[in-house]
Symmetry: C2
Subunit: 227 residues, 2 copies
């Protein structure tokens, strides 16, 4: 069972602090340039370039060239999932409840997990959706119910696009801070996109934390069905 080599390559990539900082920044879902990532990682540009090449080689990142910039993103939601689960494990094994900066409570409340919402508010949404049978578990996979599709269409989501996409609409994603599932997949993305495009919610200065406007909170409560 030569399982070692495979996982140690990936883990080794994440194992460098500078690279881990880059990956952490990319979990916000936005594409970032090499220079930006260098600044975030706290290393010089050549160093960052080398790191980014390794991450890309290892399949964790993909990049697109635009003019003289090169934009990097995580190669998929599964990368973000693994990073979140690593955080969850780190929180338990290292004992310390995550480097608890001043903005940490807000991170726990609502943050971006690659392309969908995470945090307590996202977990509450997931629970509510299930309780109201808008989504359901079937054969070890999540499924959107008919009433769910109607509800979300009503809310303003482009459900045709969500249903037509190759990627599954519903997928549970383990929440780092709450240790419970929240909603990933096309539907999770559609919901986040809606909130961002309507500016009902905004990212905090490029980080992962998310702030809701009063109207955003109203819409959120609408989603939870608590009004």
């Amino acid at each position: 069972m030569n399982v070692g080599p495979n996982i140690s390559i990936i883990a080794g990539l994440v194992g460098d602090p500078a690279r881990a900082r880059m990956l952490g920044a990319l979990m916000a879902g936005k594409a970032l340039t090499a220079s930006e990532l260098a600044a975030i990682a706290g290393v010089a540009l050549p160093t960052a370039s080398a790191h980014l090449a390794k991450l890309t080689d290892g399949g964790l990142l993909t990049s697109v060239k635009q003019g003289r910039h090169r934009y990097f993103t995580l190669s998929g939601a599964d990368v973000a999932d693994v990073l979140e689960s690593l955080m969850s494990l780190a929180e338990r094994t290292l004992g310390e409840p995550v480097k608890t900066g001043p903005r940490d409570p807000r991170l726990r409340a609502a943050r971006i997990c690659y392309d969908h919402l995470a945090g307590d508010m996202a977990v509450a949404l997931f629970d509510s959706f299930q309780k109201r049978a808008l989504i359901e578990e079937s054969r070890a996979a999540m499924r959107l119910t008919e009433s769910g599709e109607a509800f979300f269409r009503d809310f303003g989501l482009d459900m045709d696009a969500v249903m037509a996409a190759r990627r599954p609409a519903c997928r549970p994603c383990l929440d780092w801070s709450a240790r419970r599932s929240h909603l990933a997949g096309g539907l999770g993305k559609a919901i986040l996109d809606r909130f961002l495009s309507k500016t009902w919610a905004t990212r905090d200065h490029g980080g992962r934390a998310v702030s809701f406007t009063p109207e955003g909170l109203r819409q959120y409560r609408l989603l939870t069905g608590s009004v």
Copy 2:
């Protein structure tokens, strides 16, 4: 968001090939001594000792001294979960469908994931349990139903112990090879224990692969309800 340091410490631990081999071996759920792990990792004893100290410091392993031996185990099922998800990611990003040794098909069919069954057979069980409403998803957590409790008690499991334990009876665990959930938690462990103690199933020479006797296969089909 100083998320980097935390995860890079853990990932760095897994990132060393020798340590990754040790962790992989421990995913079989059995406690192993330092010497055994040294042999598996392919390093000398002093080297292994240093690795094990680091893994223990990092909270990934726990150890108990028994006489002049020291037995190491994964510190929890969450460690195994992360390792499985790393394998899953490695399989996608590195392109190669896992170092495919001769025994690989058997690994995919049935293997041990720390303390419960994984692989196609385990995924089939999970599906079947859900279809027959022996377990159900409720509020983002798995729950054992009443009929499920009766069924498993009938099958011969010590359900009193399972229900009394602090650890949740049902927990989904993402399957590395099938990319679908199988059953972890107290119930998952109880099922595996039953098969092992009755010698309906045996580990293959200390590895993770699992073999079923004819009687074991009969019992398995009983569980799936396909008879």
